[in-house]
Symmetry: C2
Subunit: 228 residues, 2 copies
Amino acid sequence: MTSQGWQFGDYPGATEDHLHNYRYMHEIYTHHDPDYTGRATVPVLWDKKTGAMVNNESADIIRMLNSSFGAFSNNSVDLYPASLQREIDQLNKYYYDNFNNGVYRAGFATSQEAYDEAYEQVFAALDQIEERLAAKGPYVFGEQLTETDVRLFVTLVRFDAAYHGIFKCNKKRISDYPNISTYLKRLYALPGISETVDFDHIKAGYYSLGNLNPNGIIPRGPEIDLVA
Amino acid sequence: MTSQGWQFGDYPGATEDHLHNYRYMHEIYTHHDPDYTGRATVPVLWDKKTGAMVNNESADIIRMLNSSFGAFSNNSVDLYPASLQREIDQLNKYYYDNFNNGVYRAGFATSQEAYDEAYEQVFAALDQIEERLAAKGPYVFGEQLTETDVRLFVTLVRFDAAYHGIFKCNKKRISDYPNISTYLKRLYALPGISETVDFDHIKAGYYSLGNLNPNGIIPRGPEIDLVA
């Protein structure tokens, strides 16, 4: 994270903007809409043919990729099957409020009370996940992999590397939860997943938040092994 | 820690200055020497009879308490027995450089390189302690409790609560080292020790370092149990 927000390239292993050769994400937003003055967030789904942004909300993008890109894929995974949609929506909301967004509320809290509340919610959600996996595994809806798992994965995989330290979500580590640890490794082993994870990028990204980490030093730990 | 340095009282469970009713440690130093302008550090050994400071260096104070206060004590513990003094001095130096002071060098590093080096030294020392205890326990010099154990205790007991997070010594927690964990509980169980430990004070103290933790929020975790 820079003073100009999200930046392409300029870090080992980081990707350039191969389409427009832009340096900052905000240039992508103004390319799409020259009058745009809001925050330039990630992720973004971009349509090369029309030269326009399709969506910039991660939950929407997951759903779009699941429902509208079958023609470009050779598999038949359905992460949002009709029979589970209602339950998926409910569980997504609970996990978003308490876990995915809970870690951010803990980390960016400006009062001890707000932090304390978010911290308790984060670990209540982790306790719930741990129990749910024990009862229903291997995925949160049993044998069926769903977008709920994908959404949990992104927060779980960063947890010990980043949220535990810089966001002070330090009651336990994910590695202290036996069922969640096994589940995280199971998700990480799915085709195409591990290639999306770079712990150096995760740590460098979060520890570049100057208001939380003024000296900018990036922790070397913890030891994380999602393959063993 | 305040803008005026170490402060008495004014925090749940903190002790007042019952002798002079001072508010800041620097007042103790100028009471002893009105011309004193150096740093007002802790601990301090104070002589009530002469109204003067005896010493302000923790390693010296441990040794003074061991050698010169037998008349005020009903036990015959000798933490610095003649037969081990040379080995104790050597091991104390190694642990001080790499562990007791190593965590501070990691935490207060102003370059990634200085932090990385200190981090590696801290965990090399912990690996050494873990192996030494396996070979020689129950204490680092076997059956004989020494000042080396006392000096290790103070850093070990704060490690998971403070250094792991705010000083980024996060390769492992003490609770990840089986022999050190047992050893730490053994020391904690010695008469008079657990009364000196207040995890709220440890966390509130370190997380009041504004240059490392600008928002001042104190982590609720981790869960620590030195009794089980």
